[in-house]
Each structure stands twice: as structure tokens, then as C-alpha cells.
Amino acid sequence: MEFYTYVLVELAKGLPLTLQIVGFSLVCSFALGLCLALAHHYGPVWAQMLVRGYLAIFRGLPLLIQIYVIYFGLAQFAVVRGSILWPILREPFWCAVIAISACAGAYASEIFRGGLLSVSSKDIDAARAFGMSRLLMLRRIVLPLTLHQALPAYGNEIIYLVKMSAVASIITLPEVTARAFTIVTETFRVFEVLAIAGAIYLAINFIAAFAVRCVEKALEPSPPRN
């Protein structure tokens, strides 16, 4: 029992860092994913090609490789180390946020594009007929409908993202997984430690999924009460 408390306390120390990585990456990847999806769906041909290329790389490569390249790979080049970006790229935290956002953003953009595809031309026609500018139409009509349709699938992506944050452990950030790994190598008690780490992730994801479900419910057109 003592062991379990010890592990729990030790892992919980990594929780703030995990949550920070998740929080930053969530915001960045959402914005990135939305921009990519819009460029992919509405943009000129060259923008679409650019997005396709981006998606091919960031959805195609394991996150492990991406974070490896961003953290270890770029650092190999003296040019990078001399550049103004180095203060950011030097920090494992920002490398993790960049890598996770870039990857999760690519996935999110496909989800959002699916949502954009489901917006019916009738809704668009009505918006255009009322003289809405493209931006206004996007903000008031297209995005709400898109996000509503995409929400269940986006819930998936949030959960992916929470678990993605574990790759931060390979670039020296002492978040939950890294701490679990350290305890495992010290004590050799793989199952117990991983199960507790798993429970922590499950708890985060449970809260995330619950939040998503609440938003989903709130957006549902409710039958009138009268």
C-alpha cells in the first residue's frame, strides 16, 4: 500500500507539467487545425497543395520521429543553434509543444474538414443571400455547424493529444510518463506503476470526454419546452 501511495505522489508531481503541455498543445493544435482545414477546403490550389504536403508529413510520421527531429535533429545543425529560434528550440518544453501541436493540428484539420464537408449548401446559400461576408459567414454559420458535426470525432483527438503528451518524456521533461519510467527502472514493478499512470491518464481523459459530451449536449437543438 505504501508503495502505491509513493508512486501516486511521485507521478502526481508530473501532473502539472503534463497538463501544461496538453493545454498549450490543445490551443495551438486547434487553431492550426482550423486554419489548415479552411485552407484545404476554401483555399486556392497552391494552398491546398501546401496543406496536403503538410498533412502527408505530419500525419505520416510517428510523433516519436517528429519530436526526435525537432529536438535532437535540429540541434545537430550549427546554423540552428546560432539562430534566434534557438532559445525556444533549446527548451524541451517548447519542442514538445511544437511537435505535439504540429502533429495534432494535422489530425484535427482532417476532422474539421469532415465537418466542413457536412455543412449543407443550403445553409451557405442562405448566408450568402443575406450579404454575409465570407468571414462573417464562417464565424456565424459555417464554423458553428462544422464544430458541432466534428465534435465527437474531435473528442477522439483530444484524447489522442493527452496521450501524445507522453512523448515529452523522451526529451527529458519530467512529466507523468517520464516519472513512471524512472520508477519502473528503479523498482522493476512495471504493472503496478503503469497501471497507476494509466489511471491518471484515464482520469484526465475522462474529464476531457465529459466536457466534450457536455458541449455536444448543449449544442443539440433541444425540443421547445412549452
Binding site: H41, Y42, R52, L55, A56, I57, R59, G60, L61, P62, L63, L64, I65, Y68, V69, F72, G73, Q76, Y107, E110, I111, R113, G114, L116, L117, S118, V119, S120, S121, K122, D123, I124, D125, Q149, A150, L151, P152, A153, G155, N156, I159, Y160, K163, A166, T177, V190, F191, L194, A195, A197, G198, Y201, L202, I204, N205, F206, A209
Partner: protein, 235 residues
């Protein structure tokens, strides 16, 4: 960077074999995942309270827990359980579950949980009126699912399922813990042996790009194929 070990030594061949392993496991796991995902979705939409709850819990837990833990549970938990059963019949010791089977089952279970969310969203996106039209013609649930809801849901689901397929290819790297040699594991082994960690990660990246890039092309084609008559607004 020196890539000569790829064609001069054994490494090139080993990397290719690892790529084949990745592809096989990913493919089988994805198929299994679709079956599981569909089953879960049907259970969730069945209206039978207990069934729906069970499916929902499965989806939540399997998605919520790190993949590695699930693989551990299935592989090592699986053989422990088998061993425990076997001991009843007098068999002693460790029973090996085929790593390939475990890998496929574990990844497939994870893939199924994610797929069910995507499939559910897509089914709910089919316009109600069209479903009602099908009902009013006396179509059974199965027929409706096959002829009306399925094809339309498929086109909403394709982007999401595409995501899942790509993730499955990459998640397959986790099965190295059960002893299968897939791309990432082979790259680590080769890199460590030659003390060129980067060289082989880059080779691995290239192989992944080929696998996933090819997939993206096929998915794109499928999307166009099923997009016919779609109400979607163009650019």
C-alpha cells in the same frame, strides 16, 4: 550522413522485412478494429441500456489509457491467464501467445474504440429525413444500414477513419514490446549497432512516408468515390 550500411550490409533487408511486419499487423488490426468499432457503435445506438453502457465504458477506458498499458495487459496478462487455466489441466509453466496475434488483437482493440466514435458521429450526421424515407418504405434496420445510412455515413466517416488508419500504422511501433520487429524497433537496433541513431530514424521516416503517403492517396480516391451526390458546399 552515411547511408551505405543500407545496401552494403544486412540492414536494408532487415528494414524492409520490418516494414512488411508493420504493414501486416496494421492491416489486420485495422480490419479487426472496424469490426469491433461497428459492434460498439451498434451497441451504443441499440437503445438497450446495459449494452450501450458497456460499449461506452469500453470506448472510454480503452481510449483513455495509454496504449502501452493495454498491450502489456493483453500480451502478458493474456499468457498469465492462459497459464492459469492450463494449470487446472495439469500443464505447468508459461504458455506463449503468438506475438503477432497479440499485437493484432491489442492494436485492433484500441483501433476499434477510436473507430466507434467516428462511426457514431457519422451515422448521426445522416439527414433525418432520408432515414425516415427509408423507414417509411418498410426497410428493416439492416437494410437501412446497408443501403441508406451506411453509404452516407461512410462519406462523413472517411476522413476520421483515414486518421485512424494512419495512427494504426504508427501505433504498430508499440508492438515491439511483445518482441515483434517492426520499423521503429529495427531502426533502433540498427542505429545502436552502427552508432548512427539518426541515419536509421531517417530511413524509418522514409518508409513511414511511403506507407502513409500511399494510404492517403487511396483514402482520397475513396472519398471522391463516396462523395457523389453530396450536399456539401463547394469552395
Amino acid at each position: 550522413m552515411d547511408f551505405s550500411p543500407l545496401w552494403e550490409g544486412v540492414w536494408g533487408g532487415l528494414m524492409l522485412r520490418a516494414a512488411a511486419m508493420t504493414l501486416i499487423v496494421a492491416f489486420l488490426a485495422f480490419l479487426l478494429g472496424q469490426v469491433i468499432g461497428l459492434g460498439l457503435t451498434l451497441a451504443r445506438l441499440s437503445g438497450v441500456g446495459l449494452l450501450a453502457r458497456a460499449a461506452e465504458t469500453y470506448t472510454m477506458v480503452v481510449r483513455g489509457v495509454p496504449e502501452l498499458l493495454i498491450i502489456y495487459l493483453i500480451f502478458f496478462g493474456g499468457s498469465s491467464t492462459l497459464g492459469w487455466f492450463a494449470s487446472w489441466f495439469g500443464h505447468q509453466g508459461y504458455i506463449e501467445v503468438s506475438p503477432l496475434l497479440t499485437g493484432v488483437v491489442a492494436i485492433g482493440m484500441i483501433c476499434g474504440a477510436y473507430s466507434s466514435e467516428v462511426i457514431r458521429g457519422a451515422i448521426l450526421a445522416v439527414p433525418v429525413g432520408q432515414v425516415e424515407a427509408a423507414i417509411s418504405f418498410g426497410m428493416s434496420r439492416l437494410l437501412r444500414a446497408r443501403r441508406i445510412v451506411g453509404p452516407q455515413a461512410l462519406r462523413y466517416a472517411l476522413p476520421g477513419l483515414g486518421n485512424i488508419w494512419l495512427t494504426t500504422i504508427k501505433e504498430t511501433s508499440l508492438i515491439s514490446v511483445v518482441g515483434l520487429v517492426e520499423i521503429m524497433r529495427q531502426a533502433t537496433v540498427a542505429g545502436a549497432s552502427l552508432r548512427q541513431p539518426f541515419t536509421f530514424y531517417i530511413v524509418a521516416a522514409a518508409i513511414y512516408m511511403v506507407l502513409t503517403g500511399g494510404s492517403v492517396l487511396i483514402i482520397g480516391r475513396a472519398e471522391r468515390r463516396f462523395g457523389r451526390g453530396s450536399m456539401a458546399a463547394g469552395a
